[in-house]
Every structure is written in C-alpha cells, then in structure tokens.
C-alpha cells in the first residue's frame, strides 16, 4: 500500500470514527426518547388493538430506517467532504 492510499485509509477511518461518535450521541438520545414517549402507548396498543399495533410497528421501523439513512448519509457527506462513499 502506497503512502497516498495509506493516508486515504487513515482519513476514511478517522472520518468514520468521528461519524460513529456523533451518530452514537444522536441515537442514544433518540432511543431513550422513543422508549420514554412511545413505550406506554405501544404496550396499550399491543394489548388492546393488536392489528393496529402490527401496522404501527411496521410504519415505525420503516420511518426510523428512512430518517436514520438520511442522518448517516448526511454525516458521511459532511465528514468526507461531499462524498458519501
């Protein structure tokens, strides 16, 4: 591996480590909020309206996937100077 590619790998790893730290902080706050605000409501829904719970469960996980995808892509772009890969 040449010195230029070594530098590139080091830069990528540093950007990824930084991304992990920022993402980790965001996610920790997020999921404690989700558990706090949605937990009780979801338990009620699961007990009383199981079909509605099933639909809400799918919508929640897809919604979270789309939002987190935006966040991770945005972070990758930001930390790697406009490139997402």
């Amino acid at each position: 591996m040449g010195p230029r590619s070594k530098t590139a790998v080091r830069r990528t790893l540093r950007a990824f480590a930084l991304e992990l730290v920022i993402y980790g902080a965001l996610v920790t706050g997020y999921f404690f909020a989700v558990l706090h605000f949605l937990g009780g409501w979801l338990v009620q829904l699961e007990t009383r309206h199981i079909r509605v719970y099933a639909v809400v469960a799918i919508l929640l996980i897809i919604g979270q996937a789309v939002v987190l995808e935006w966040v991770t892509t945005g972070l990758l772009r930001l930390l790697r100077g406009g490139r997402s890969e």
Partner: protein
Amino acid sequence: MMFFPISHAHVNPIYLIVVGFVIGVLGGFFGVGGSFIAGPALRLAGIDWNFAVGTDLAHIVGKSVVAAKRHRALGNVDLRLGFIMALGTIGGAEVGAQLIQMLKRAGSVNFVVSVVSIVIYLGISGFMMWESWKTLVLSKRQNPQRTSIARGGKSDESAFQHVTKAIQRWRIPPMISLPQSGVTISLWIILLVAFVGGLCSGFLGGGAGYIRMPSMVYILGIPTHLAVGTDLFEIIISASYGTFSHAIKGNVDILIALVMHTGAAIGAQLGAISTQYFAGPKIRLAFVPLPLIGAAIVIYTMFTGHKL
C-alpha cells in the same frame, strides 16, 4: 439492563445496538437479513424464540430499507425479480408462521426451531464453503495471472454453474426474462425458490437471506452482486409481511427492534459500500462462517441454557 414491557424481557440496550451494528454490516455486505445471528443473539439475551423470531423480522425490515437503497444506487437490484420473489416468499412465510404457532401451542417451539436451525445453518455453510473454494481454485488454475481487481470488483464465476445451466434449461411456461440479471428462467422455479426462502423466514425468523441469496446464485444463476441487492429489496416486502403476521400473533416487541435498528442503520451502509471491492466467489467464501456462528450460538444456548 432495560425492561422491555411488550416481551417482558430485561436486556442491555448497548448489547442490542452492537448486535444490530454487526448484523447491519453483515447484511449490507452479504444481502442477508442476519437472522442466523440476530435470532440466536436475542435468544441468548433471554428472549423467547417466538419473540426473537418476530422482533428480528421487524428489525430486518428497517435494516433492509437502508441497505437496499444503497445497493440500488450501486445498480445491484433487479426489481422485476424482486417483486416476483416477494409473492412466493409471502406464501412460504405464512406457512412458516403457522408452523411456529402450532409448535407454540404444543410447547416445543424452542427445541424444534433450535434443531432445525442448526441443521440448515450447517448445511448452507458446508455447501458454500465447498463451492466457493472450488470456484476460486478453478479460476486461479484457468487464469493464474488475473486478479479479482483486474477482472473488476463485480466479477463472478461458480463451480456449480453446470447445475444452474441445467435448471435454466427446464422450459416450464411461463418463462420469465430478467435482462438486468442476464437470465431467462421458468416462473415456477423462481416461485419455488422464493417459497422455500419464505418458509425458512416464517419458521426460523429473519428474511431467510442465508438460504435465498445462495439459492438465487446457484439455482437461478443470478450474479452474486445482483443476488445480494435484489435479496435485500425482496426482504423489505417479505419481512414486512412476516412482521405483520407475527405481530398480530403477539410475537413482536417493536421497542427492541427500534433499539437494534439504530446500530444496524450505520452498519448496513458500511456493508453495502464494501461489496464493490470484492468479487462474487470471495463474497460467498466470506459468507461461510456466518451460519456457523449462528449454529454455534444455538447449540450453546440449547445445551447450557445460559442467558446473558
């Protein structure tokens, strides 16, 4: 430890995020839902198999959305094949979920699912190790000077190709042309492969990519990179259906799935981006240890009853 009231389980959320991240990387790279690790890992954390299966499916929906989007951008998704396979998978998943219900009523769900999963994981690992190793040795003998980089990251060969070609010659109408994958094959073969994948998905949990991705390569003859991307796309549809089916049977703790998915979202992107640097046989050979890890966790849990 955190209490999850839907499944009545106490689980460490950091453990769930780490499991999600690892499965995300593996899923993005291999095109699998990762249930062969997620199911046993949830079981190891003290969650009953029926909840492990259903919750894992929900988490896989989210992770596959992220990874499939990334693969689509890389040109690795055959939408036509994905939609056709989703039909067969949904049928199989429903049969699998019904079998789980039967076993739950009989009180033997943990034992039976454990034994079946061990047999399937070991079988897939053994076969893929043999095939990909043989393919790499054969291609080295034929082209000793050419490296996978010289051939391009997406190059693909298979030592099992003669069987794939024989299957493609079965002209049972209607025949389906898949220009993006470069294959023309009977609709019934696609549906059968998808049904078996769906059955495993409903019965063992996850998207069953561990059986569908190799089946797409070896039976349908789809190039590995396209099999990975298309499998992930198809998993979104089939795992959503599986999640709904399991949720109305009371087998999904969506709070656990949401926590796991926070780790998976970043891992899935990383895994998907990495595929462009590896040739097909190398991706398949690297896949071999994964079902073995799943089998080892199931065996460990079965014989020790240990929970984290």
